[in-house]
């Protein structure tokens, strides 16, 4: 008979064996001489030890602890609900965040073999570029042997039925087929649509179909105007497809229609004028990434000999699409801040839970003392308390999963995320949730349990420090929310100074055509003259970095705020309505001069006349000839910004953009500009300045939504924490308070007693929170643009602290009132 079977036998015959053991021990004591009986030991404890020897004692104890724990929690519903709610909040926020990450990175590309997709780029001495000219893409496609397929997409702003700013992707004919996409309605694009002479057709995205076409299935077959060309809709893309590039797409059109939409562009095969197509591919089985890159590099060198579109030293590089996506995402500073805040919420929840457990331990002091008196060891008590903590953790993680799922969905909606960013409850999410709760229960249940099981009651220190941590974290979160929200409001109300509503930016991209300096200048002048002649145009100017655009040039000079540099035409200041405060504007053809903004002048030459001073910028000494007002556009992005302007030179022309100021709504012009540009054989992209501003503020709004939601959770936690704290104090000191009232304490006195108990740690917590918030906001400033110049945003801080105090006061109210209503005689009779 093996050991296992003996154990099992003992388990099964436990009752009889216990009886027999007791009888045996009884006999033994009887046989002992009376004077030696005390040498026998504690019979109950010895029996328990013996029982442990027989069986899987830990298992028995666990089931005992569990059933006891369940009973204890059941009989204290207030405590149980509170603790579960606190855990659910802390864990739920983390889960929601995890789900959003999961949706955005891990599962953004949910089509077959998504992990094998490569994005290609070409690298030269000038750095890597993602855009390929159409001619090259067609050449690779016909010549390459190592790729199973190569598809490309090109971003294009189009006008649909007069609606400007519709985002479209021009894609190769086999794009959808190779990605394995199945249409929601109708059909998707295929090879026939990419054949020369095919009718122009389009596929609409699911969200665009819903918002602009009322989700009407009869949309298939409809004909509409895209850039004044007739295009037929053949289908609707599936709900979760949004292209390969991380941006929203409303419409897909075959690349072959580009010459129709953009008058003047050459047929694909011959078009090397602009490097605009993003190229993706999948290698044939057995072909290495290096071999694929090498083959395309050889093809590219061959093209470089024939075409000027590539340089001789060009190499092809490839990167897995998923890898590059998660990299861009992880580098976003906003995400870093978000992660830190979310972890702080968890910390606050944990401190909260620890405090509740500790207070609960105090309330159970009698019970625990009795158990220890009848022979329970300290380890045994700790194990019992930890079992209860883990029960709470399991309940909390279940509630957290539900809360996390709901809040992820709400957040995604609030963020206006694209349809294919959908949060899903995967096993990773569930697992992460369980691990988080178990860890937090262990981290904060254990110290409390150890303290509770300590016979001498020195629980004050741990409890005070937990109160301190909780208050500090809540304060930090509320202040951060306050600062960031205030910042968002401030940037929405920044006065841009110029008439951004009526401004259009035109990017001619002459640099892509590799023109000589003289030709470029000529082309630009022609274009400028033609566009200025349009009806309603009030003024035109040129700049290399148009305001609110994607181009920013700045320089970090020692001891100065970041200097935003721009290269502008002499008319820039007039058109942008930037008044000259001192000196003059540039003269035509002038070199080695500069104009600075008033804040730059103040920072560089405080209390001195900036005119005539020398500033070294881009490697040349420049004389300051004028001072202008600060540009609102840079203030929006960076409140500390100072600016310097250099005169435009002949060599800058090919890189510069045209800025038009109109008398009326420029939306109509957006449709006309490409056609006019086409007349002089130019292809341009046109951007409304107000659209750039809106999308910038939209990003800010999302950030505020996120931060605000975390702030809300932090508030809820702070409230729960303060409530629990005071409620337990009242419960614990009921007798004492009763006696105080009986001997004539006033309500003010009672409140004083209640508040002073936690007063000191709360005070320390608030101070720590404020200091941490100040440090954090310094860090944040280096990551995102804040509107206020001073390091400590007083209004934001005040709002955060006020919110905390208000919440704390409200949470304290109901238990405090209960304390005042204590009936002394009833309380004293109770014991």
């Amino acid at each position: 008979m093996g050991r296992f079977w003996r154990r099992l036998y003992f388990m099964l015959h436990r009752r009889r064996l216990e009886r027999e053991l007791a009888e045996e021990m009884e006999t033994h004591r009887d046989l002992m001489p009376t004077d030696r009986r005390q040498h026998f030991g504690n019979a109950a404890r010895l029996q328990e030890e013996a029982r442990e020897a027989w069986s899987w004692a830990w298992f028995e104890q666990l089931s005992q602890d569990l059933s006891y724990g369940i009973r204890v929690l059941w009989h204290a519903p207030g405590f149980t609900l509170g603790a579960v709610a606190v855990l659910a909040l802390g864990v739920g926020v983390n889960l929601a965040e995890f789900q959003i990450f999961d949706a955005m990175i891990l599962h953004r590309l949910h089509f077959r073999d998504a992990s094998a997709f490569l994005q290609l780029s070409h690298v030269s001495k000038q750095g890597p570029r993602l855009g390929f000219p159409s001619g090259a893409v067609e050449f690779y496609r016909s010549e390459s042997q190592s790729f199973a397929w190569l598809v490309s997409e090109e971003y294009l702003d189009i006008v649909v039925e007069g609606d400007a700013g519709v985002r479209s992707d021009l894609v190769s004919g086999d794009y959808f087929v190779n990605l394995g996409i199945v249409p929601a309605w109708g059909r998707l694009l295929d090879r026939r649509d990419a054949e020369p002479g095919a009718a122009a057709v389009a596929v609409v995205s699911y969200p665009y179909w819903q918002t602009h076409w009322g989700a009407d299935p009869h949309v298939v077959g409809r004909v509409f105007h895209v850039n004044n060309q007739l295009v037929q809709i053949v289908g609707v893309a599936p709900y979760d497809f949004d292209g390969l590039s991380p941006r929203r797409t409303d419409l897909w059109l075959p690349l072959i229609v580009r010459p129709q939409l953009l008058i003047g562009s050459a047929p694909l095969r011959e078009d090397f004028s602009r490097a605009s197509e993003a190229l993706f591919g999948k290698l044939k089985p057995g072909v290495s990434q290096a071999a694929g890159e090498a083959e395309l590099t050889v093809l590219t060198r061959e093209l470089a000999r024939r075409q000027r579109a590539f340089r001789d030293d060009e190499r092809i590089q490839s990167e897995f699409v998923q890898a590059s996506m998660s990299r861009t995402f992880a580098h976003s500073p906003a995400i870093a801040i978000f992660v830190v805040m979310v972890l702080l919420v968890l910390l606050s929840a944990c401190a909260n839970l620890g405090n509740m457990l500790l207070a609960r331990g105090l309330a159970r002091e009698r019970e625990i003392h009795i158990r220890m008196a009848i022979g329970a060891s300290r380890a045994r008590i700790v194990r019992q308390l930890m079992t209860e903590s883990f029960l709470l953790a399991v309940l909390g993680s279940a509630a957290g999963l539900v809360f996390g799922g709901v809040s992820a969905r709400l957040l995604m909606n609030a963020l206006g995320a694209a349809a294919n960013f959908r949060p899903s409850m995967s096993w990773q999410v569930v697992f992460a949730g369980l691990v988080l709760t178990l860890l937090s229960a262990a981290a904060f249940g254990l110290p409390s349990a150890l303290q509770t099981a300590r016979p001498s009651s020195r629980k004050v220190h741990l409890r005070r420090s937990l109160v301190g941590v909780q208050v500090a974290v809540s304060c930090l979160l509320l202040i951060s929310s306050g600062v960031l929200a205030h910042n968002g409001v401030a940037s929405a109300s920044v006065d841009l100074g110029f008439d951004y509503r009526n401004m259009v930016v035109i990017y001619p991209q002459l640099y892509a055509q590799q023109l000589t300096v003289a030709t470029a200048r000529q082309e630009m002048d022609t274009l400028s003259v033609r566009l200025s002649a349009m009806p309603g145009v009030e003024g035109a100017t040129a700049a290399v970095a148009p305001p609110l655009g994607g181009r920013v040039m700045f320089e970090n000079l020692p001891g100065l705020p970041r200097v935003y540099r721009n290269v502008v035409a002499p008319s820039y200041f007039t058109v942008m309505k930037l008044p000259l405060l001192r000196g003059r504007s540039f003269a035509a053809g002038e070199q080695n001069v500069a104009i600075v903004s008033e804040s730059a002048a103040r920072a560089m030459w405080p209390n001195r006349d900036p005119l005539g001073k020398i500033l070294n910028l881009t490697g040349a000494d420049r004389t300051i000839v004028g001072v202008v007002k600060d540009s609102g556009a840079n203030l929006l992005v960076d409140a500390d910004s100072v600016e310097a302007y250099l005169p435009i030179q002949a060599a800058d022309v090919e890189r510069s953009a045209l800025i038009l100021h109109t008398r009326t709504d420029p939306a109509e012009l957006v449709r006309m500009i490409p056609a006019i540009a086409a007349e002089v054989k130019q292809t341009v992209s046109v951007v409304l300045m107000r659209a750039s501003r809106d999308s910038f503020l939209e990003g800010q709004r999302r950030m505020i939504t996120l931060i605000g939601s975390i702030g809300a959770v932090a508030t809820a936690l702070a409230a729960a924490g303060m409530f629990a704290l005071v409620a337990f104090t009242v419960a614990q000191r009921k007798r004492e308070l009763g006696i105080r009232i009986a001997i004539g304490a006033t309500p003010r006195h009672i409140l004083g007693v209640l508040l002073s108990q936690n007063g000191k740690p709360t005070g320390i917590g608030i101070v720590t929170g404020v200091v941490l918030a100040a440090v954090l906001s310094r860090l944040v400033r280096s990551l995102v643009a804040l509107q206020k110049n001073n390091a400590v945003d007083v209004i934001g801080f005040a709002a955060g602290i006020a919110a905390f105090v208000l919440v704390a006061a409200l949470a304290t109210l109901s238990p405090a009132v209960r304390a005042l209503k204590i009936d002394p005689s009833a309380t004293l009779r109770e014991e």
Binding site: R3, M32, N42
Partner: protein, 96 residues
Amino acid sequence: MLILRVLRSGPLHGYAIAQRIRQLSGEVLEAEEGSLYPALQRILVQGWVAAEWGTSETGRRVRFYRLTPDGTKQLKRELQEYEQAAAAIKAVLRLA
């Protein structure tokens, strides 16, 4: 080990085991006598002793514990280990 040694000479009941250990050790080992029972339960589970109810010399119903072949082997092993350890300690003490 002591229990196993005491049982080598024949089956005994609990009180007798305690008495024997006390006598043999010359009243030096005077731990809680009750702790004998958890120890007995542990070696019962190990299978080194077997138990059986019977009647004592004074006519009381008692449980007799008897060494099993496994128990004999275990005792031999433990004695050997003990002697080795004791010899080592002795050697160290002599040299030091």
